[in-house]
Symmetry: C2
Subunit: 507 residues, 2 copies
């Protein structure tokens, strides 16, 4: 398993052991969001305030505040994802939250109803970005005439979807993308993208997972040999993409009744769509009497075969599954496509292994950059997106069911006194600690009670307390107390920083 | 000087030694932004592409992409700022990019022209946030009925200002805020805010700096005793706030000609506004025949006196200057206000010490949260905002003038081969490195030339190369090459990871 990069391994292991228990239900449950609770309470029980009777305090639908508890989890997950991207040599990039409306809609006509437009306040017409790859990255490459780049980007994106928060879907959410742009030998960067997904999902210890792989050319070839009219490729592709949420029966019904496909053609697709396996399935499809007649499909199969060879060398082939039902809704993919799903570990009652949904996905898009380039120059690309919001939801849910408290601060030392009139000593002392890079807190009171101070440490998980009082001052010492063991030792005042640093490095 | 928290001290020191040279000019020059150059080129020399003759590729006015070089600097600065906030026990918080329009405008009537509204696409009326404190933090506290919280927030905010990019002002920019909410004994949290500003500005090694301090009650008291009509307090306050950019002569002219103040009143203000100093100035103002008659001003002076006592205990009093001209434009301040400015170190030619502008600011706002609370409950707050965009501009400019190259990746080891047909070996090897947490790259080519591979390492600053070829394979070894010294040593294949980790920990 890869190391956790920037994150101290122990920190993460400790957090995980606190948080991660196998979830008890198969679906992803509601996300805890005390803000929304507060909102509901405030808007329903609101007693109109004299000065502003109509002022209702709430946040926009489909958005949420992230509380300090949620921020701790989010930060650890993002740190791990980004450190993996960096381990693979990626550079960082940041782009504006909004783009020119025409830049965004040029590429997203179909779903432009999902785009948040800004009000025309004079000047340019702008819209909030809805992803990090399609527009910002491809636009950046074309605008700067870059022919190759390995970059990652982490940021918020916005989509005006009906906010079904119960499923963990928000109108504002965070994306983490990694992409490799450039003309290279086949399948080497593609294999690295799959390796990255494996490293991240293993590192996050979310449980067992599987990455489904297919190729857009195999999907199209399959549609062609099954007899789907080319004009219906997109629509049928979109239906097939629902196979992870709907049964084949329902998808078939949609294809026939809603999309006007003939039942025989649908059944032919059905046969393929149920195929999944490893390298042997690729070989089998090479021999398939219909599919082997399609040039595109053969190209796709050839690339997949090479990809599996590289995945074997990377030691991750057993995590990858060639799945002919995988379609990936997005238009822009041109080659390999993939999607990682978590597998529910079977519970003690012997339930079946269940799918808790996609947590990473991506593919090859060789034509996208050309659409932003005035001269239509191509820059082949392959990339992936980590479904961090889904991952946050899972970890948050496990936190809730575990009832363990998460520290929201990193404070190492608390400066306390048992006596009155020691504020000045505490201020001098804490400044010394801060200056030495030690994370320290004290109460903002002139004369706090010792018990209040010690309770604060216990409640917030601060491991050490430095105590200064009359006796200590007289003797030129400081008491250093371990909150867990409640043991106290006297330390010479001038050795305090060194002693604390020693203890912190040991703990 | 404080330690640099999360950042390895050596890394930062190395970056700084590369980047930070005393700037040669007093003003902050234009920010390098190759995207905008590209934009200009593309929009002027655009040869219409056949399929999309009117498609112009650019990004919105007042925004910019951050290139990998810029991202490296930004990340290091933000890491240092956030690690300081955490050293002081702050919790993280995140809020949505947009808020309900009525929530935002409730508080910001005066400048609502600066707010980006979202288009009415059905549903709620929304606007992009213009800061992190006034609305999101105060709204969060009120909505969740929190009576105390020490939090930091880092995020983008948006303002529709005329984009004078030359001055480093953008319509989209990053803010870093730290605030302490709660009812505490006077001046303890306020002093900590000033300590934090000192730690951050010292840690970033931007050169000498000074923090101007005043109190909103002293400002108001001064206006009152000078004879400013209460209805003009705000307007005159806004004029005085320009004293760091304009001369007193010009500010006086604005007060008299534009804001209708009588010349005598303006002159009385002028006398105070020229006063700055330390504790002795506070004592002097206590004795001031006019100011000492004003109750509000006396309260402010009393608090400032206590503040200076705490700042002395923190060892930072010499960095703080009581400045009666400091007004801080924002309405919501109710007590202490402060603003940090960088001082230009005198150059060899003996030029005067010059002000390069505000890089951090803040103050006490005890009434703001109540405005969001339906029952008007007060939560006293004090906080600060680090002017990270200004700091980025300064560091970027120094980078430019130093002509030193900044590494945009963190890759530690490159996997190379001098022979053909070694792709498979390279893939196995690099997977081993990644699995051990080592940052590694290779070229995505089946048969790259050795020279191309070594050049890549030199160009991108990768310190080590692992070389595998026929001879090595036969002998069961790997060559490990130091890019700087060009020395190579043979290492047993099975010891590779351990050897590399040893060398990396030494370097």
């Amino acid at each position: 398993m890869p190391q956790l990069g920037l994150l101290p391994r122990r920190t993460w292991a400790a957090l995980l052991s606190q948080l991660l228990r196998p979830p008890h239900s198969a679906c992803i449950p509601a996300v805890g969001c005390h803000s929304q609770v507060a909102e509901a309470v405030l808007t329903s029980h609101l007693k109109p305030h004299q000065e502003k009777p109509n002022f209702i305090i709430k946040i926009p639908k489909g958005t949420r505040d992230l509380s300090p508890e949620q921020m701790v989890v989010r930060e650890k997950i993002l740190d791990m994802v980004v450190s993996c991207f960096k381990r693979h040599g990626a550079k960082g990039l940041d782009t504006p939250a909004f783009e020119l409306k025409e830049t965004l809609t040029e590429k997203y006509e179909e779903n432009s109803g999902l785009i948040y437009d800004l009000k025309d306040q004079g000047g340019e017409l702008l819209s909030l970005r809805y992803d990090l790859t399609e527009v910002p990255f491809a636009r950046y490459l074309a605008m700067n005439k870059l022919k190759k780049m390995k970059r990652y980007q982490v940021g918020k994106v916005w989509r005006r979807e009906s906010p079904t928060i119960v499923q963990g879907r928000y109108r504002e959410f965070c994306q983490c993308d990694f992409d490799i742009a450039g003309q290279f030998d086949p399948m080497i960067p593609d294999a690295e993208c799959l390796k990255i997904i494996c490293e991240i999902l293993s590192g996050l210890q979310l449980g067992d997972f599987l990455i489904k792989v297919n190729d857009r050319r195999i999907v199209d070839g399959m549609f062609a040999v099954c007899g789907v009219p080319e004009s219906k490729f997109r629509a049928i592709c979109a239906s097939m993409d629902k196979l992870d949420k709907m049964s084949w029966r329902d998808v078939r019904h949609e294809m026939v009744a809603k999309k006007g496909l003939s039942p025989e053609v649908a059944d032919r697709i059905g046969e393929y769509a149920q195929c999944h396996g490893g390298v042997s399935l690729i070989e089998q499809m090479f021999q398939d009497p219909r599919l082997s007649q399609n040039k595109q499909a053969l190209e796709g199969l050839g690339d997949l075969k090479l990809l599996f060879e590289y995945l074997t060398l990377f030691g991750i082939a057993e995590k990858i599954c060639f799945d002919l039902s995988l379609a990936r809704g997005l238009d822009y993919y041109t080659g390999v496509i993939y999607e990682a799903v978590l597998l529910q570990t079977p519970t003690q009652t012997g339930e079946e292994t269940l799918n808790v949904g996609s947590v990473a996905a991506g593919g090859r898009y060789d034509e996208l950059v050309a659409m932003f380039d005035p001269k239509g120059h191509k820059v082949p690309c392959v990339g992936l997106s980590i479904g961090v919001e889904r991952i946050f939801s899972i970890v948050e849910q496990r936190m809730k069911t575990s009832f363990k408290k998460v520290r929201t601060t990193e404070t190492q030392v608390f400066v306390a006194t048992p006596q009155k009139n020691f504020l000045r000593e505490r201020l001098k002392l804490i400044a010394e600690l801060w200056n030495a890079g030690i994370k320290a807190e004290m109460l903002y009171k002139n004369n706090p009670k010792l018990l209040t101070q010690l309770h604060y440490c216990e409640n917030t998980g601060i491991p050490f307390v430095v105590i200064i009082g009359e006796q200590e001052q007289k003797e030129g010492v400081i008491k250093l107390r371990s909150v867990a063991s409640r043991k106290e030792v006297a330390i010479k005042r001038e050795n305090l920083v060194a002693e604390i640093q020693k203890r912190l490095s040991e703990s």
